[in-house]
């Protein structure tokens, strides 16, 4: 070794591994929801507090892993002293708040929001809708048959997933997942304005020309089935999709060393889609193109070695 070469000085930690400092104790605060007092740590939302009391608050655009955008307004609650209703998903709890989650006003707004959505969007594959519509006695048909909707042809421009914006309630979740909340790819954004606002690539260019990396994290967060595995879409078209015949199994992604948790959905011995649990510490529901779509090799029968 020449004298000029720098000495390889890689510091090797000695002694005990330092421990992370204990999490800062968050002050607790008390508020009243539907007459019951509940105590939550500061920084909690009204939704958190309601959950603690076992109150089931409907949500559509909210997801634990994403920044709340509070646009669907189905979670609104009545806060004493506030002129308008407030969104439970994003409004921070404050000491002394007094909240009603099932008052006449709350029920009316929630019902109207559900009627507005179900009368303008195809909610046939949105799992929460039937329950919500029933709970609030919503009647989307009362606006008549000639109402404007977001109906449009389904976009099938790649082999992995389809985009059916007739089913889009514009919850912004896919944009968040594609952007700073997960993937940082920014292939899609909200474009247009008003009732014509929609999720779009630049100039509605096909996904294959866009920045999309096919991680499918947008599918993972879509609450209505507007974004869907092509395999699921095709089976639904053929009438063979049957969740009662499906099983789910959790496994670890075989590709790299990150250790993502996969939930493999299979029907009739074939993999039909792959998801990841939202509460998994590694993925938070997110995967990459390989983990989410690269499963076909499982179906190829191994050829005997010659």
């Amino acid at each position: 070794m020449s004298d000029l070469a720098p000495k390889a000085l890689i510091p090797v930690p000695r002694g005990p591994v330092p421990e992370a400092p204990p999490p800062r104790k968050r002050a607790m605060m008390e508020l009243k929801i539907d007459g019951q007092t509940v105590s939550v740590p500061e920084g909690s939302t009204i939704l958190d507090a309601a959950k603690k009391l076992g109150i089931d608050t409907p949500t559509l655009c909210f997801l634990d892993t994403l920044t709340p955008v509070n646009v669907c307004r189905v979670c609104v609650v009545e806060l004493e002293g506030s002129r308008t209703l407030v969104p439970a998903c994003s409004r921070k709890a404050e000491p002394g708040m007094s909240i009603k989650t099932d008052s006449e006003r709350v029920r009316l707004s929630r019902r109207l929001v559900l009627e507005f959505l179900a009368s303008s969007v195809d909610v046939s594959t949105a799992p929460q809708f039937p329950g919500y519509l029933k709970r609030y006695a919503a009647d989307p048909e009362r606006f008549g048959a000639k109402t404007e909707t977001v109906k449009q042809p389904v976009k099938v421009d790649n082999d992995l997933y389809v985009r059916d914006y007739s089913k889009c309630i514009l919850c912004y979740k896919c944009v968040e997942a594609c952007g700073v909340d997960a993937q940082n790819t920014f292939a899609i954004a909200v474009a247009g304005r008003g009732f014509a606002a929609h999720i779009s690539t630049e100039f509605d260019t096909p996904l294959t020309d866009s920045a999309c990396v096919y991680c499918g994290n947008c599918i993972g967060v879509c609450p209505t089935g507007a974004l869907m595995f092509k395999s699921e879409y095709e089976m639904r078209q053929a009438g063979t999709w049957d969740e009662s015949r499906q099983t789910q199994a959790d496994t670890i992604c075989p590709y790299c060393g990150v250790g993502c948790d996969l939930t493999v959905h299979q029907q009739d011995g074939k993999i039909v889609k792959i998801t990841s649990p939202l509460d998994h510490s590694v993925t938070h529901g997110n995967l990459c193109i390989k983990g989410r779509f690269g499963y076909r090799f499982v179906e190829v029968e191994a050829k005997p070695k010659k």
């Binding site: 304005r193 008003g194 630049e202 100039f203």
Partner: protein, 625 residues
């Protein structure tokens, strides 16, 4: 961030337009010529890479003005220059009505079809243009021009109104009011032939400020005088006396005077101005930048007072903002001006330059160590951007979608810093308050409605225009001051506060025009609109137009508003066509339910007031039985 671009390339012209706005690119990394030597020795990252987004709106304006539309290649180049994903740039550009994302003729006429112009024959103009030039939005004059229907252009005192813009190396804008179909055609032809005058408009004091000669005017006393363009003239009429005094008094005393004056915001929400300023003043020690914003996005149909003030007395706006800077500790101010006000833009730009040159803006104002500068930002056709949090997003280069409150702007506003947003009229009251003292100002007016107010009197009235009165007079007195009811002379209704306001009936004319007085009869002063309708007007048509306005102008973010305004308009259409689902009664009940949901559950004031004019009419008249 690794930005992906489509294959579309910008044209030479498009590049030039962007570079003129942003300066030439330094390296091939941000769109310049490739230089092997320098390119490998630069790095764009960290804060610098993400700090240009606020230049997006002016850059889109630059391309629109030069080329006439914004192409995929231009979007790619803008994205490259600003380090933004093209999908987001497209999302922002497609938010604004004045930007076109499809190829469009270079000369475009925007013809107002809103309620004030409806009372003065805009429908006839549009149908005439349809027969001579073809349908709205279609190219005419051998593909060189087109005409579009437009929401309120803020020229209601001279209704009907139109605005023509031409794109190119020296883009021109020109307003026409009162307009005729022949006049619009002529302007389009002038635009095609390159004969549009440089000056966008001239201020016609006679037409806009009927009180002009009155010696009692305070806020309007300079409008129409040379002080609109000359700083010396402005100073001769006690201009900048108040700023000098404010600097001597210091922040605490200025805030105290404004609180004592009981000045309430004149944009529509009527929040105490002093309280806003106090909140910012109290945060000065935190060391965060503070901002003051003059909200000049006057887009409420029927409102034009701010335009007249900015065109006629621009220095007063600057002085008011600079006093706000003294009080709040802000070093940067923005005027967010609606895109449809080319003449106000010109006057304000001129005034800002003159003030900077005279040391009244900049590093060391009046030699007293005060640092404050003002940037003019032009909107691009979006009513919603007058909502203060949408306005922040618009300046920052995002879609003009309102934010949820809290946090309130005084805590986390523009760039998430403490911000005070004040209306133009509010700000021009400030120098008067400082000159006469808060307590003296509070004595003017009536009760908690202190001081002077500007009224936008329009529609079927003999002398439409901006009127100034101290608070306290009645609606009847104001109408008399404006020469009484015009049209056929038989008053049917008055719309107070614009599309987001409320109708009142002729029997309510004795309502005092104060915040309390109007509230007591379920109305609002809003932005000061007083629009008269004679009994030849079909009010249902006016309601339909208001519903259409909200349908066109909702940002689309939250469900109650995005879908609610559409269902409201559809229901109203069925009622007007006398084809209700079920009975008219069930439809009206449905309208009221939708109104309540929009009022209760929408994010911002647009959705919360989208049904208020309609409901006020339902409360007063049985229009659909």
């Amino acid at each position: 961030m690794d930005i992906h671009f489509t294959a579309d390339q910008p044209s030479v012209e498009e590049k030039a337009a962007v570079d003129q706005e942003l300066g030439s690119p330094e390296t091939s990394w941000d769109g310049g010529r490739r230089d092997v030597q320098s390119d490998g020795r630069v790095s764009f990252g960290g804060h610098d890479a993400g700090s240009h987004r606020h230049k997006l709106l002016p850059t889109l304006h630059a391309v629109q003005a030069r080329i006439g539309w914004i192409s995929p290649g231009a979007i790619n180049y803008i994205s490259l220059r600003l380090g933004l994903p093209p999908a987001e740039v497209y999302g922002v550009a497609s938010f604004y009505h004045l930007f076109s994302l499809a190829e469009r003729p270079p000369v475009v006429a925007h013809v107002c079809e809103d309620i004030a112009c409806m009372t003065r024959g805009s429908e006839e103009i549009c149908s005439k243009l349809e027969s001579t030039l073809g349908p709205a939005g279609k190219a005419c004059m051998v593909g060189k021009a087109a005409w579009l229907r437009s929401p309120c252009l803020g020229l209601c005192e001279r209704a009907p109104a139109a605005m023509v813009s031409t794109s190119g190396k020296s883009p021109r804008e020109r307003v026409l009011a009162p307009a005729t179909a022949e006049g619009v055609e002529q302007l389009l032809r002038d635009g095609v032939d390159g004969r549009l005058p440089v000056e966008p408009d001239e201020l016609s004091v006679k037409a806009s400020v009927p009180q002009a000669a009155s010696p009692n005017l305070v806020l309007l006393r300079r409008v129409g005088k040379a002080s609109g363009t000359s700083l010396d003239e402005y100073r001769k009429t006690s201009g900048y006396e108040a700023l000098r005094k404010a600097i001597e008094m210091g922040a605490e005393a200025v805030v105290r005077e404004v609180i004592d004056s009981k000045l309430l915001g004149r944009g529509g929400a009527a929040f105490p101005t002093g309280k806003k300023w106090e909140a910012l003043m109290n945060q000065r020690k935190q060391g965060r930048p503070h901002y003051v914003i003059c909200n000049a996005d006057e887009s409420e149909p029927g409102t034009f007072k701010d335009r007249v003030v900015m065109e006629g007395d621009p220095f007063a706006v600057l002085e008011g903002m600079t006093i706000a800077a003294v009080a709040t500790g802000a070093q940067k101010g923005y005027i967010y001006l609606r895109g449809e006000y080319p003449f106000a833009a010109e006057r304000l730009t001129h005034a800002i330059h003159a003030a900077r040159k005279a040391g009244l803006l900049g590093e060391d104002i009046l030699g007293r160590g005060l640092r404050f500068d003002i940037e003019l930002r032009r909107g691009a056709g979006a009513y919603i951007c007058g909502e203060e949090t949408a306005l922040f997003n618009s300046i920052e280069g995002y879609r003009g979608e309102p934010r949820n409150k809290p946090p309130f702007p005084t805590v986390a506003g523009l760039f998430r810093q403490p911000t005070s947003v004040n209306n133009v009229e509010t700000l021009v009251n400030v120098p008067e308050i400082i000159r006469m003292g808060g307590a003296a100002y509070a004595k003017i007016g009536a009760g908690n409605s202190a001081g002077y107010r500007l009224w936008c009197v329009c529609g079927h009235v003999a002398r439409p225009g901006v009127y100034e009165t101290p608070f306290g007079g009645t609606l009847r007195e104001l109408i008399q001051m404006a020469g009484g009811v015009a049209g056929n002379g038989r008053l049917q209704a008055v719309l107070l506060g614009g599309a987001a306001g409320a109708f009142v009936a002729p029997k309510e004319l004795d309502v005092p025009l104060t915040f309390e007085g109007t509230r007591a009869i379920g109305a609002t002063l809003g932005s000061g609109v007083v629009m008269l309708f004679d009994d030849s007007v079909d009010l249902r048509k006016i309601l339909l137009r208001i519903a259409q306005f909200f349908r066109d102008e909702t940002c689309g973010q939250c469900v109650p508003c995005r879908v609610g305004v559409v269902r409201q308009q559809e229901t109203l259409e069925r009622l007007v066509a006398r084809k209700p689902l079920g009975t008219a009664g069930t439809e009206v009940r449905m309208l009221r339910e939708m109104g309540q949901a929009m009022r209760d559950a929408s994010i911002c004031g647009l959705g919360q007031t989208a049904s208020s004019a309609l409901e006020s009419a339902l409360n007063r008249w049985s229009l659909f039985s």
